[in-house]
């Protein structure tokens, strides 16, 4: 077994897209019932990147009820649903299998950026994703809390990637600009194999390292000083992940507690996300009952002085075997509809820049919301596919290393049968073993399992099967240990979460991403329900105390709710207390995809 080995370029591209295909568990769905019964209409399913699902839902509703949806043979009914760009790209290449898990086969695909379509076509050797007409734009920016940006001279002084790197490498951190209370410089960026923002930021940092704004070459990426520059940027990363909303939600949650400045100093996001955040809607989609609340500390968008890249949101009508001529014709009606000035006004209302020149750029793309309609003034050229693949390859080597403890529930309920025929534990073991391949060979990974009444272990509630150490040296041991598990007794959730956290904090490594992946299918069940509330309160206090402040040593607990009976509320709270993320695998069949998404944080 090898972990994150040097691989051929083509293999990496396939692997990268595969990882992406499995990602985004927290934001993905098929078309929901909210669109109602399409009746006898020609149904046009549309897979869209997550940040624009709210907009497309509204546009589809408007279209479905309009005269434009009426055709000679009846009517057209558009149903958008959220799908991560990289995930959809791989599914198209694969012929979009398992629609019940992956969502229905789309007629229209709108990834965040056109580059994903190029990747699909290159991999298939034919044009399955014809060049689509962009229908809205949003540039990549570096979002920073306003006081931090001001400390760097914003808005009068241009700020670039070089400034970010300099600050990230300064051992004094924010103290070097007079703010020791903010601690070290902490950067949030998503995994470029999954996220367009992460990919664009990674491209931009290589451009910054070369001093170029176009013509990036494979040779450039191999220069030692370029590699060092990239490694320096990555060293400041808090963690990675599949979607930018994780960072924005965490920032927003810490803003409530007044600790947002010590969670992250800067996050690479699309400009639209800065607007959403400042309007009190950090993930861009209001849940039922959710009321927008302006943050105490607003974000501002930094447009890197070296230039930036755009997400152009193409409208692609797929040339796939599952798309009929009638569906293609119907899709064109919706394509024309979204380009109309009145609908481009809606695009603007959702924080995107319209692609129709007759709609002037106006509020909410305004200084009042932390963004500058007169920026960016420079762009970076999208590299050739060959260089793009090399960027991903280089990132895999230069990204920040991780120190991760896997904590798996082996309680009795894990022995329940899953729909596939095996037990829930069987599925989880397979997924965990597969996910080991997603680590870098120099990452440190360990394994605990937990249940009550364990025999022959120092603590009867958990067992350290493999200590945290370099996975390249102990991958086989981890596989064997995971594979040997079987369902046992109760679920001492609170006790073990606390113990695992304390263990990881004791050996905290500031040069790595320190994290716990905690999977459970049940509620706290240690045989004594009387102290559950106190145990939970103590646990949350312990986690928060260790995660906040300028001198904090953050150990992030990424939680997975496994199966229908998991205590999702508690697991979300644990993740939130450590500014990590919670993942939903309530359908055990999705556990492979969820594990991959979790590991994308490293």
């Amino acid at each position: 077994m090898s972990y994150r080995p040097q691989v051929a370029i083509a293999s990496l591209l396939i692997a990268a897209a595969f990882l992406a295909a499995c990602g985004g568990s927290s934001d993905e769905s098929g078309p929901g019932d909210e669109f109602g019964d399409p009746g006898d209409c020609t149904v046009v399913d549309m897979a869209v990147s997550s940040e624009k699902i709210a907009l497309l839902t509204q546009l589809a509703d408007d279209f479905n009820g309009s005269d434009e949806a009426q055709i000679d043979s009846g009517c057209v009914f558009v149903r958008p649903y959220s799908k991560a760009s990289g995930g959809a790209a791989q599914l198209i290449v694969d012929g979009w299998p398992d629609p019940e898990i992956n969502g229905v086969q789309p007629v229209i695909w709108s990834p965040a950026a056109s580059g994903w379509g190029n990747i699909v076509n290159e991999r298939l050797g034919r044009v399955a994703a014809p060049a689509g007409t962009p229908f809205m734009l949003t540039p990549l920016v570096i979002a920073m809390p306003q006081p931090m940006a001001e400390a760097l001279g914003w808005p009068d002084t241009p700020i670039g990637f070089a400034d970010i790197v300099e600050l990230a490498n300064n051992p004094e951190g924010w103290a070097s600009v007079g703010h020791p209370e903010w601690g070290p410089f902490r950067l949030g960026k998503t995994n470029p194999n999954f996220s367009t923002s992460g990919l664009n930021f990674t491209i931009a940092q290589y451009y910054a390292a070369t001093g170029k704004s176009s013509g990036l070459t494979v040779e450039d990426l191999q220069r030692p000083e370029v590699q060092q520059f990239a490694t320096d940027v990555e060293s400041a990363v808090v963690h990675y992940g599949d979607i930018t909303m994780t960072f924005l939600n965490n920032w927003f949650a810490t803003d409530v507690r007044g600790t947002s400045l010590t969670y992250a100093s800067a996050v690479a996001v699309e400009e639209k996300s800065v607007i959403d955040y400042n309007l009190g809607n950090p993930d861009g989609e209001l849940a039922i009952g959710e009321v927008p609340r302006e943050p105490r500390v607003p974000l501002v968008a930094i447009y890197p002085s070296e230039g930036t890249l755009y997400s152009d949101n193409p409208f692609i009508i797929l040339d796939a075997e599952w798309v009929s001529d009638d569906e293609r014709t119907a899709a064109k009606l919706f394509e024309e509809f979204v380009q109309r000035p009145e609908n481009q006004e809606k695009v603007l209302a959702f924080g995107f820049r319209p692609n129709n020149p007759t709609v002037p750029l106006a509020d909410p793309v305004s200084l009042a919301n932390g963004v500058d309609p007169n920026q960016p003034t420079a762009e970076l050229e999208v590299p050739s596919p060959e260089v793009l693949v090399q960027v991903l390859d280089a990132w895999a080597e230069q990204r920040k290393e991780a120190r991760v403890l896997l904590v798996l529930d082996v309680s009795g309920s894990m022995g329940e049968l899953a729909s596939s025929g095996g037990t829930k534990l069987d599925l989880a073991k397979d997924a965990a073993i597969t996910a080991l391949d997603d680590f870098k060979s120099t990452d440190d990974v360990g394994l605990w399992v937990f249940t009550t009444d364990l025999f022959g272990t120092p603590d009867p509630n958990y067992s350290e099967l493999v200590p945290v150490s370099e996975i390249g040296e102990q991958g086989g041991a981890l596989e064997d240990a995971i594979g040997g598990q079987f369902p046992q007794n109760g679920t001492p959730l609170f006790y073990v979460a606390s113990a695992a956290y304390a263990e990881m904090l004791a050996d905290y490594d500031p040069t790595k991403i320190n994290a716990i992946v905690f999977l459970t299918d049940g509620v706290n069940d240690d045989g004594d329900i009387r102290d559950d509330d106190q145990q939970f309160t103590d646990l949350i206090n312990q986690l928060q105390a260790g995660s906040e402040g300028a001198t904090s040593r953050p150990v992030r607990v990424f939680t997975i709710s496994y199966g229908d009976d998991a205590d999702t509320v508690t697991l979300k709270a644990i993740a939130q207390a450590t500014t990590a993320a919670h993942y939903d695998a309530s359908n055990p069949a999705t556990i492979n995809r969820v594990f991959t998404a979790v590991i994308s944080n490293f």
Binding site: S114, L137, N355, P357, T358, V382
Partner: protein
Amino acid sequence: MIVVKRLAALGVAVGLIVGALFARDRWIEGDDSGDNRADAASVLVCASELAAICNQVAADYPEVTVRADNVGDSLTDLDDDELWFTFTPFPEIITQTRERSRLPERIYTTVPVASSNVVLVAFPDRTAVLAGTCGDPVAWRCLGEQAGNDWSDIGGDPTWRDVRPAFAPLSSGIGRLGVASAVSGYFGDAPINPNDPSFTSWARPLARAVPTTALSSGTAIATIEVRPSSLDVAVGAASELSANGSARFAVTSVSMNTRVDLVLATPSGVGAPSGLAAALTTASLAAGWLAPGATGATGDPPDANTVLVTSQVWEDLT
């Protein structure tokens, strides 16, 4: 006998009336093209850049199916009975190309709809710097020589970085007309010689300064309006610039003054619905184009041979 004569006269009169009505329905009201033997066409193909204009008139012609296609595609894919709302000289190019390929003859009758000129669109500060070096109208030779150089070399702000002129893609009519203007402007009165090494050296940086994939709004002028960071100097038709854009950007003429003519082209044997050309003119004027023959649009459109040659040259360069 008198009765017979009267009946005969009546028959002749009825025949004349019926004939007149038939002639009006078939040849007069159904005619914008001058072809008075034709059936009314049921499909109107619009150049993609003109789709918004077509959409404006479509509601008034429910019997006509309106479709938008790139000019580059229409040159090969247009059917015998389809009307075409396009630019001069593309109908003539189809006629010539089919003749050379020994395909069945197709002759178009064109009705002028609206006009404009090939121009440069840029932020006013860049326009001023460019005019200071390349004149006003801007000399194509000079613009090509500056492509890819630093703006600061000609007195611009160093933060503007490279001079990045951009043309619409060759798949579009606007793109082909802009390229025809540029290449003709380089050669001036001399015949176009695509193999001239000096020309190649001049044209390469101009053609490659901005990849067409960066033109997310289709044409260079539409893109500079919504995404000005992607290019510096947009080549296109003056009428493309929206009212919003007119307030933000400056428009400059170029040394080879090239008129852009919109026409409704009708293939022989087919008639255009009554009033369609006039309706297209009304919608075009509302969209900022000039009336045919208006004093604002000067110069001449390029001929078919020039567009064919210059498009091929540019395609080879990019």
